[in-house]
Symmetry: C2
Subunit: 267 residues, 2 copies
């Protein structure tokens, strides 16, 4: 059930899509060919298929490809019914108002952290600029909070996949140190980011756990060393834990197909 690199043709097609996305700009066939291991005609037809399916957009003027708008439409649907994001929204807003800080909602995507939402007291969210973003698990508050509450074997497997790149002086750069930290987080029920990913950026984070203690995601309150310190953030622990519990309960309820809500098509 883990991400396999090659499930038949579908896996290959998605790999191509990922490669185009990774290039981060409109690319020509030849550029994808150079960046990819597929033989020319195979890649050609995969790109044809993806384009014809709207998963890649083709600009006939520059003869370039970009990830397609069908993805945006599908992601809208994914986000909408990701029980977590849907249900968590009002809680993020409440927490943001209560703490005056930035609130993050994230979940695990393979060994990485995927941010689902962000709520900032001051400036309005720049749409899509944060949701969908990925980050490292070993040096972010939300990442560590989730790793700490995973079953031993799963956590171990994900820890092995971390890069342990040193972003700052405070980055935990080995599996051993991280594991010790995770034990601590598990004991406390919450964790910190002590400027481990970006200088001056600190946060306190809690996991969102289902009734069966499965890790659904994580919440964090982020601030800077100019504004506050770890002790200051620690005061919010009660609030975010309560929110995390409520979100988990609501998400669980939402998952059961008892209410068949019609999708809203108007804007």
């Amino acid at each position: 059930m883990t991400r396999a690199s090659g499930d038949g043709t579908v896996g290959k097609a998605l790999q191509v899509l990922e490669e185009v996305a990774a290039l981060g700009r409109p690319v020509r066939f030849g550029e994808v060919l150079a960046a990819s291991d597929f033989p020319k005609p195979t890649l050609y037809r995969l790109i044809q298929t993806l384009s014809s399916q709207g998963m890649l957009d083709h600009d006939p003027e520059t003869n370039t490809y970009t990830p397609g708008t069908r993805l945006v439409r599908l992601a809208h649907s994914a986000w909408r019914q990701s029980s977590l994001a849907q249900v968590a929204r009002p809680h993020l807003e409440a927490l943001s108002a209560l703490t005056g800080e930035t609130i993050h909602l994230a979940k695990l995507d393979s060994a990485q952290v995927l941010y689902l939402d962000k709520c900032n007291a001051e400036q309005p969210v720049e749409m899509y600029s944060d949701a969908g973003k990925v980050g490292p698990a070993y040096c972010t508050g939300v990442g560590k909070a989730m790793l700490a509450f995973l079953p031993e074997d799963e956590a171990q497997s994900l820890i092995e996949q971390q890069s342990f790149h040193r972003f700052t002086d405070h980055t935990l750069t080995s599996a051993e140190v991280l594991t010790a930290e995770l034990t601590q987080i598990r004991a406390n029920g919450y964790g910190f980011d002590r400027e481990e990913h970006e200088p001056t950026i600190i946060c306190v984070s809690v996991p969102i756990l289902s009734q069966t203690l499965r890790v659904l995601g994580a919440l964090s309150v982020t601030s800077t060393t100019q504004r506050t310190n770890l002790a200051g953030l620690e005061q919010h622990v009660g609030d975010i834990q309560k929110s995390a519990q409520t979100i988990a309960a609501e998400a669980q309820r939402w998952s059961f197909p008892d209410q068949v809500k019609q999708q809203e098509t108007r804007i």
Copy 2:
């Protein structure tokens, strides 16, 4: 190059993904089976593949599937490098501030309108609630603006695909009336939504055209009959036309792979 329903296995897999997304809630295998034409083992393996690829998320507790978070990550990338959305953002904000009204950015996705962004002067945008949303082309300002500036044959083909469902008393409900309206819009260079989709909701819209007059998207200023009227909206035409031109020029420049920007991974 138009959306084909079945390009091999990839097309089928995406069809399944679309079906799960359309159900709009966590679904079990059996439900997808009932909603789908695929034989049981085929559908089973397609769902397996999609899950293993992260395009579907599987909840082991309820044994249900939802569109996967990988979509959110890919869409982030798609949105980021959709030259239009990226480039248009500051212009939407400026227009919103200037007019005090809601600004929409949309593009065509097959015969439908896909909203890429929205900017509201008063309340901050609810993330993902609007971007990714689809709407009808024949009864929205942005839809008509785009149809009006399409090549004759393309427009004809898309007009034939419209449902012409009557949403309000003002909805244009036949290809003939719509075609006449489009001629008018083409002559004027801008169009209106006269409460055609939702009562009291009116807007003025312009296409975003490339230098070769290809339709890239559309912009609209939306308001209500309580706040203003068509004549009031018409005053904004000059501003949004200027923005549309600037956006087109910037998007075009952006499309040429001269600047290789590294993707930002921090949050």
